[in-house]
């Protein structure tokens, strides 16, 4: 291999190492227009960020949350690892702080949503799985987090039971 070819090969290796991006480990779900992502951004109150109407502590769990990345793009923080649950219990405590999030985006109907599967609060911090809803639900109901009751929280939750009782499973009542 000649001298120029060695230089070219060295550049290519540098490019691979420098621009391949951070390691990503989110699981694919095969959802619409899925993109596996690792994002660094600030946890924000969506209503505050979009409309300017703000509440303390990002609404304390009563308002949808977003992730505002360093390039100014706003993502709707929609889904956690817990089945049928969002991210409020996972990241509302990080309101106004920067996190690094592993997850995926899905896009359709002129909307893009973000699922965060795990996050950490600093580059060298420990990853935290987004199972905050299940952990909180199990504590509120005094049942094991890894038990059947929590696994099927959506069948056992009294708010769900009340809504289904009023309208029926099909919503036709």
């Amino acid at each position: 291999m000649g001298r120029i070819q060695v230089l070219v090969a060295a550049f290519a290796v540098f490019a691979l190492l420098a621009f391949a991006g951070p390691a990503q480990s989110a699981d694919s779900l095969g959802v619409h227009n899925e993109q596996i992502v690792t994002l660094k951004g600030k946890v924000v109150d969506l209503a505050c960020e979009v409309t300017g109407s703000c509440a303390s502590d990002c609404g304390g769990g009563k308002r949808p949350l977003g992730l505002l990345t360093e390039d100014g793009r706003l993502y709707v923080a929609a889904k956690s690892n817990t089945i049928f649950a969002g991210l409020l219990k996972d990241i509302v405590a990080q309101c106004g702080k920067t996190i690094i999030a592993d997850g995926l985006t899905t896009s359709d109907h002129d909307a893009t949503l973000l699922m965060i599967q795990r996050y950490k609060t600093s580059d060298d911090g420990a990853w935290v799985e987004t199972d905050g809803f299940a952990v909180d639900w199990s504590k509120r109901h005094a049942v094991p987090v890894d038990g059947k009751m929590t696994e099927e929280w959506y069948r056992n939750d009294w708010v769900v039971k009340g809504a289904v009782a009023r309208r029926g499973k099909l919503g036709e009542n």
Partner: protein, 146 residues
Amino acid sequence: MGRVAFAIISLGLLSFPQARADATPPAGPERVKLTGEIIDSWCQVSGIMGVGTGTAHHQCAIWCAVGGVPIGIQGDDGKAYILLKDESRDVVGDPTLIDIQTDKVVVDADRYIRDGVNYLVVRKVLENSGVVLKNDKDYGIVPFGE
């Protein structure tokens, strides 16, 4: 330059990450009268359940609303809107919104657009026609069929 070097350079260039869409400035508010179905945004946008609207998905929409997944409106214009406020109330866990999942509504709202996503601050629900899309005969109850 040899073929090997050319291939290596090409590989190096291909390793650059894809450019993401640029952040776009916010737009709105625009006062709108919108007709659509109250949805759980995740199932509708992701398509993870196959069907994310109508009687077939009503119970699942309740589960997601209680679970804190952002609630939205699937507009008759084909766009999914994310709800930020409903008649001055915060939306997460709001019992009124949980009870009207899957209903067809007409709303008077302020629409905002940010980074290609449509957001609504609902001033007033003008009409509620209940569940209009009767698709459980086609799909059963989604998911789990019960």
